[in-house]
Symmetry: C2
Subunit: 177 residues, 2 copies
DNA sequence: GACAGTGTAAAACGTTCGTTTTACACTTGG
DNA sequence: CCAAGTGTAAAACGAACGTTTTACACTGTC
């Protein structure tokens, strides 16, 4: 098994379950089953590891998001929550824990949010096909619903995502010409 | 000026801007202008201070939320974001940083979420007056929109709250008999 | 004028942090 | 066969962590 992949899987799990700052390097080396020397040779630093974990998660998430309707987006989200549990958006958590002033982190976070937004905008342009202003408003609202479902699922579980899905269906229907 | 109030104002600011775990006690004593001995005599421990800060914020937030329409709720949220900036829900951030397994914290967090939800349910029962099932669904959706506005505002600013407000108006109108 | 109470400054507690280093074992290709 | 590469185990680095302690100054009150 690839050593770096193994490390990053363990790191993502620990960061997600215990927080970034609260997760020490010894916990990481122990969970990944390697020495600190090897870890540092592979990823350089803790901040770099955080960035790599987020980049990897970004790929995994965006791959799942390869759908062509807003309803399907929320179906994906619901599946994600059921598969991986809900502890809040890992990107925003990393951003918050580092105060937003860690370039290596905030770059990945903001890039992820921009990519997600762009994907939603694409789907809306294709599914609804209103004018630019309507589409922009709708995109903003769907993004808010996605963020809200992710956050509320922490304490409400998948039900929050189901509620967001229904709300999205209503505002999409409302915006259709 | 009251010494404990002063401490908690400084603590809330530092926790919010830099994260809970990343904020050390020396940073807190320095910002509040007191010795560590006095700090510990007043609040006991760092975790207790975190709990107190969250309790105080809960009071402040719920006091602002004393309104009687869903639209007004989002107006309050918009004002809050403009006044205090948007770095994500401090309750959920505390929950995430402590892995959810710090009773002193998670109790305050979950209580806050329950209180907010109850307030929203009250407003809906009074403003919309549908049947119980409709009201429950609508409550869940409004809560999701509030969480989403709070989260998305981190990188989208007040615009996210405005979008949530419009979306809320639509789904409330849709639910009215 | 002793008293308890409350504050400060500053050092020290042991632990843990992220990171580097030392020393050694194992493959693998020229 | 040796040289380079890659891995481990474990100690060490200085700094920072949350917390406690020591020593001392200032307030009020009996």
């Amino acid at each position: 098994m690839d050593i770096k992949t193994n490390l990053m899987t363990a790191a993502e799990r620990l960061f997600d379950r215990n927080g970034f700052t609260a997760t020490g390097m010894d916990r990481l080396t122990q969970a990944a089953g390697l020495s600190s020397r090897t870890l540092y040779k592979h990823v350089g630093s803790k901040v770099a590891l955080m960035g790599l974990v987020l980049s990897e998660r970004e790929k995994r998430f965006m791959a799942r998001l390869e759908v062509d309707s807003i309803d399907a987006v929320f179906a994906v989200l619901e599946g994600w929550v059921r598969d991986e549990g809900a502890r809040g958006c890992l990107f925003l958590r990393a951003y918050g824990e580092t105060g937003g002033d860690m370039p290596e982190i905030s770059r990945v976070v903001l890039a992820h949010k921009a990519a997600m937004r762009a994907k939603i905008a694409d789907i809306i342009a294709q599914e609804v096909g209103g004018n630019d202003e309507t589409n922009a408003t709708l995109t903003e609202q769907i993004v808010v619903l996605i963020e809200g479902a992710t956050a509320a699922a922490i304490y409400r579980g998948p039900e929050a995502v189901m509620a967001a899905r229904k709300a999205a269906a209503i505002i999409v229907a409302q915006a259709r010409p």
